[in-house]
Symmetry: C2
Subunit: 424 residues, 2 copies
């Protein structure tokens, strides 16, 4: 199948932040040409005149718990411990694999509306998540969520072997829930897996001040120092949140070529704090951005996260010039792909996967067009997402989805599941 | 002209936060019925089946500088003084009245996409702003912007007389730019006007730590204390920003029945700080929300501001239960109308102005519908705004505008003005 998108501003993210004018050719799931408009002998199955609008790589949602859509607007405005113990955990205990299949789909729809073309998902049942993602046509990198209460290091190892190479839209990374929920023996088993597969390891890290204080008390080290001392990061990896992060933590992340995945909306809403993004970037650590799950955010919207990444850095540093729009746009696209090891989804270049979005510049919040990346990061909104393509397939265009299932059916099923969980 | 919106969830904002099911009847610019569906003898010129979606009062943007759209994405990522002195002031010096007419229209379009039905605008040339607003069909409350460099107390008094009663969509409030830009003699003249008209007075107040420190040094009082001592607030009024606000300032606002108008996105982006919203609300002071102008925000989006109002309060108080969604939704609608003295635009009740919006709940970010106000405040997005009506007229519906001018022409004119300002 051959697709051509022409008459476009194209921000390839491979070469600065000035869009070029031209066209993109796509064959099946891959980009085969990006550049000035030129003649072609190919037959086009799909052609779109982009009308001067902007094409760029899709956003990478580098930390989420997709299936938690059932908790949206159900567990808000509560102190953190009440939120977890009275709302989240009792509801989660009732979830079935099939529930997670449907609830994940609802999240994928929302990602598509926000120009997100891949998610780095940590949740309970990889099998049903993989199926949901494939059935939708969405790209998912899963990570292990093992802790003392669910999954196991052995299962994480099995999934790592099973799901890498299983399907072009799916990959799996080693991971565990967090230092404070995971015993030493599990961590040791995971470190052994990291060495066996020479693979990176991902986890929640330093999300709250309490988490760091408790680790210091138990081990005399921050979570990053402690986990690194157990050789979990010998082949890299990443940390979700990294709010209460020290210069020593940043240095370890740099030394191990690890990624910080920031989740600013969730960190505000749960009163966790503001991450030191400027220090992280100045140290040369790769930055990625995630929405976190819908229970704690509640919107799965990369535009919100991009604005917050820069705006919170500015107020945190007391400097309106801190963390500029280009750095944020890079983190939301290339930085995310690097964190998720989606090496063929970083930029719009020949040979890369065709994971891209079209941004409608012909709307009031994008006018005038003084600067594309500033427009996207400071003024951009879901409303500007005209088209979202994953692996060469248009899954969302002008408000309409093409995801294998009728979206009304997805809404209905997820509402029924939510009612069931609330009342059972 | 008679309009009927039926098969709707309706959040009137007059009686709690649970929507009722029913319909709304509108005659010309006024609501004549809100309640359960019932037969009518009226002939309907316009009828809409809202399909179970949500109708609520339009948002009130209670502080902005609309015409600054030309500065969007032109003056970002800079220290505050460079931003003002090297970018904003030199460009503003070149603006004509006609430029401001067109640039304001671009902002009105964006307000409509975000469900905003009125704006409280402080800018240079009231005459052309009034004309732009009337020509668009948009509702504008203007406030004086007098300071040592532009306008005069006499002009503010003239405009107050001229524009109150001038047109149903327009009103004018006494105001000045800020304590730090306005000399004592002007402040005294304004206080005299406040007493003459028994009218409230509005100004930028305690936006930055530096502004407060400098006022303390000059007068031994905070800006609120100093301005109150000059009898400017004897008939109430309001403060834009109120970031570096003391308990004494809050007590004065309470005593004078004044409104705090918070601008959280702008306060982050310019590294000004986080306002003590929880203290302000707990003191019983009326809270309203504004986007500030497009130079400092840059998006004119009430959904962004609503999320930030609660999320920043949570991190500021270190308490995830601070400032709940209902309080924020109230501030964005009723609180704004109160601050702007739009007493007939507060709620959806018979006799009120028909300033309302329809929110599409049939989108992934609004599913499941566990709680309407939490959905709106935590997950809502411009993309959910299906219809925006002002004074009974539908100005925006399903992405299409009906504002008297072709929107492409507005974009084109504003781009040309921006180019001229950049190069002249």
């Amino acid at each position: 199948m051959n697709t051509r998108l022409y008459n476009a501003r194209i921000l390839t993210m491979a070469d600065g932040f000035e869009p070029i004018w031209g066209e993109i050719w796509i064959q099946d799931d891959k980009i085969i040409y990006v550049g000035e408009e030129k003649p072609s002998d190919l037959h086009w199955d799909v052609e779109r005149n982009v009308c001067g609008n902007l094409i760029l790589p899709g956003f990478k949602n580098a930390h989420t718990h997709s299936a938690m859509t059932f908790l949206r607007s159900y567990a808000d405005d509560l102190p953190l411990q009440d939120w977890l113990n009275k709302q989240v955990f009792p509801m989660e205990a009732k979830l079935t694999e099939e529930d997670i299949y449907h609830l994940s789909k609802l999240a994928y729809l929302e990602y598509l509306t926000s120009g997100i073309t891949a998610n780095f998902d940590m949740y309970l049942t990889p099998d049903s998540i993989v199926q949901s993602s494939i059935d939708t046509g969405f790209r998912t990198v899963l990570t292990g969520a093992v802790n003392d209460f669910s999954q196991s290091a052995a299962l994480v190892g099995e999934w790592y072997q099973k799901y890498n190479g299983y399907h072009p839209l799916i990959s799996f990374e080693l991971g565990f829930h967090a230092e404070y929920t995971t015993s030493r023996n599990i961590l040791d088993d995971l470190a052994a897996l990291a060495h066996l597969y020479q693979a990176p390891v991902y986890t929640h890290n330093s999300e709250t001040a309490g988490e760091v204080a408790s680790c210091m008390e138990k081990h005399g080290m921050t979570p990053t120092q402690y986990l690194d001392s157990l050789h979990l990061f010998d082949f890299g990896g990443g940390g979700y949140h990294c709010v209460h992060f020290t210069p020593e933590d940043i240095a370890i992340f740099k030394k191990r070529s690890m990624s910080v995945i920031t989740n600013p909306a969730s960190n505000l809403k749960l009163a966790s704090g503001i991450a030191p993004i400027q220090d992280i970037l100045q140290a040369g650590v790769n930055l990625a951005i995630g929405t976190d799950g819908p229970a704690s955010n509640n919107c799965l919207d990369m535009f919100r996260e991009m604005f917050l990444t820069t705006a919170l850095a500015k107020v945190h540093e007391n400097d309106a010039s801190a963390v500029d729009a280009n750095a944020v746009l890079y983190a939301a696209t290339v930085g995310g792909a690097k964190a998720m090891r989606l090496t063929d989804c970083e930029t719009l270049t020949a040979g890369s996967q065709a994971d891209l979005i079209v941004i409608d510049l012909n709307q009031p919040n994008m006018q005038p067009v003084n600067n594309i990346s500033k427009n996207l990061v400071y003024s951009g909104s879901k409303q500007n997402v005209q088209l979202t393509m994953i692996a060469g397939k248009i899954l969302y265009e002008n408000g309409t989805f093409d995801v294998g299932t009728d979206v009304q059916e997805i809404y209905h099923t997820c509402s029924e599941i939510t009612q069931k969980l609330k009342t059972k």
